[in-house]
């Protein structure tokens, strides 16, 4: 009976083709802006400033991407890519590391102030960087961390979500394991490294995918604290490539940069789709 649904709920024939047609249109619509950006990154400025621009890629792919990567507008895009990579990895690894440690402390110890710390971490959820822009900037400036990687990374790595996720998971680890470790006289950190971390592998990987994208796509924070173009990240650096006056923007190079800015997070999502979906669902719970 299970496959009765094929005939009964999903009408066969015409209606199925209509469904496919709708899905294909949806996919094309989603793809369209990216396709245009790609085409623009393979033609010359002259092709673009006399609209309509071509709809098929031109022969200037290498030229534009070389120009973007090695000269850019304010700074070579390769430099911005490097900065973004450091920032995204720093944020993802940093958040995971400090959250694993604090979740371990909260779940496996009874110590004075445990509840207090738990709620303090929870409240950071309500303090996104967007609402404490100016004072956070002042703190970072006070530490002399403007235009540094620490300044880009540290203020973003506290993570209530990751801590709760790990706490939730640790609570499902059978008590017998901790009991056995204790009877064997294993130190807590030994238990942490040998049992807890290996068991959390999948959660760590899923979270890593989400947090890498989160870090890579940061815009406001790098915009505030990197005044030196050589510290710009690629996502915030694109806007800086537009001329301020009436000059025409260098569209082929800007569009090549946009494509380059998308590639790393998109590759991460597609290549780790299962982990990505799991991470997305977990981190919203």
């Amino acid at each position: 009976m299970a496959y009765q649904s094929d005939g009964m709920v999903e009408k066969s024939g015409a209606s199925r083709w209509i469904s496919h047609a709708i899905m294909i249109l949806g996919v094309l619509f989603i793809f369209f802006p990216i396709w245009l950006a790609f085409v623009a990154s393979t033609v010359t400025q002259a092709d673009i400033v006399r609209p309509p621009m071509p709809v098929l890629p031109g022969p200037h792919f290498w030229e534009n991407y070389k120009a973007a990567l090695f000269s850019g507008v304010n700074v070579p895009v390769s430099v911005m890519l490097g900065n973004s990579l450091i920032m995204a990895l720093g944020i993802a690894i940093g958040k995971i590391a400090i959250s694993l440690l604090s979740a371990f402390a909260i779940v496996y110890f009874k110590f004075p102030g445990r509840k207090f710390f738990f709620w303090a971490i929870f409240i950071t959820l309500m303090l996104p960087v967007e609402v404490r822009i100016v004072p956070t900037f002042e703190v970072v400036a006070g530490f002399g961390m403007l235009n540094t990687y620490q300044g880009l990374i540290l203020p973003l790595i506290a993570s209530a979500t990751a801590t709760f996720l790990f706490r939730q998971f640790f609570l499902t680890i059978p008590d017998e394991l901790a009991e056995a470790a204790r009877v064997d006289g294993a130190r807590p950190m030994r238990f942490f490294w040998d049992i807890v971390v290996p068991m959390s592998r999948t959660n760590i990987a899923a979270l890593f995918v989400i947090l890498f994208i989160y870090g890579w796509n940061q815009y406001l924070w790098p915009l505030l604290i990197t005044t030196d173009p050589s510290m710009n990240t690629i996502v915030m650096g694109i806007k800086q490539m537009f001329p301020s006056g009436d000059d025409t923007a260098n569209w082929p190079v800007i569009m090549a940069t946009s494509i380059l800015a998308m590639i790393p997070p998109v590759v991460v999502v597609i290549s780790m789709q299962k982990l990505f979906i799991r991470g997305l669902v977990d981190s919203e719970k």
């Binding site: 009765q4 649904s5 009964m8 709920v9 199925r16 469904s19 899905m23 949806g26 996919v27 989603i30 802006p33 990216i34 245009l36 950006a37 673009i48 609209p51 621009m53 400090i98 440690l101 604090s102 371990f104 779940v107 110890f109 445990r114 710390f117 303090a120 971490i121 409240i123 950071t124 309500m126 303090l127 609402v131 404490r132 822009i133 100016v134 004072p135 703190v139 970072v140 790595i157 609570l171 008590d175 901790a178 204790r182 807590p188 238990f191 994208i213 796509n217 815009y219 406001l220 505030l224 996502v235 915030m236 806007k239 800015a261 998308m262 997070p265 999502v269 997305l280 919203e284 719970k285």
Partner: protein, 293 residues
Amino acid sequence: MEKRVTFKGWLLPVALIAPQALISLIFFFYPAAQAVWQSLFIPDPFGLSSQFVGLGNFEFLLKDPYYRSSFVTTAIFSTLVTLAAMIPALFLAVVADRLIKGAGAYRTMLIWPYAVAPAVAGVLWLFMFNPRVGVVAWYLGQLGYDWNHVLNDGEAMGLVVAASAWGRISYNFLFFFAGLQAIPKSLIEAAAIDGARFWKRFFTIVLPLLSPTTFFLLVVNVVYAFFETFGVIHTITSGGPQQATTILVYKVFSDGFVGQDLGSSSAQSVILLVVVGLLTIIQFKFVEKKVHY
């Protein structure tokens, strides 16, 4: 829920929690407290001293027509973004759910724009609608419509809404699709046998069963529109024309950094803190309900 088996000692756990606690204290709590404190003062133009004004900054803000209109702009913007991101996603998810073969492939093709940063989405849409070189703007011109979001308020709003909602469709699709797949097919078949047409089945069975997902996405999308669309607005309109697209978060930024009006910017931060607090509570109330199901 608590562990029965725990380790002894307090020095180690405190040390383990210290990195997270210190970062939260230095970069979260202290700046937030600072925002509350600064919101009670007006600094003199040279930043040498400041005068205590109590709730003066708030009073001024609530009377300020620009701030009020920013509230309205935010309400319109987030409503439109939420609708534009959710309705197409629901529609596509319903269609994909009807397909027995190929739904997975469509999902793969639809999810990856999630990875495109809002700021990059902004640049892509700006390029399509640029009044001088944009392809879509050019074709609109051929049809006799003179597109210029640099001058026209409504067009500027439409463009930032479209660019903000675009990448978000993927995210919503993923959750709607998962929600639909979880609805037992037997229920729908039963209704089909009873002669209920597709749309009737959709509104009387599918949509009610999907309501936890819908409500969850509603909250998440509003939060997104409020706080994560800064990049889109900064790249496309910079809040213009004449503040037509200045949402609250953008105004905190432009008053605090561009306008250097510290007292007002801090007061705005405090108001936003209250908004985030409320949204977080709503989100958690709902999550609790989901757990009890």
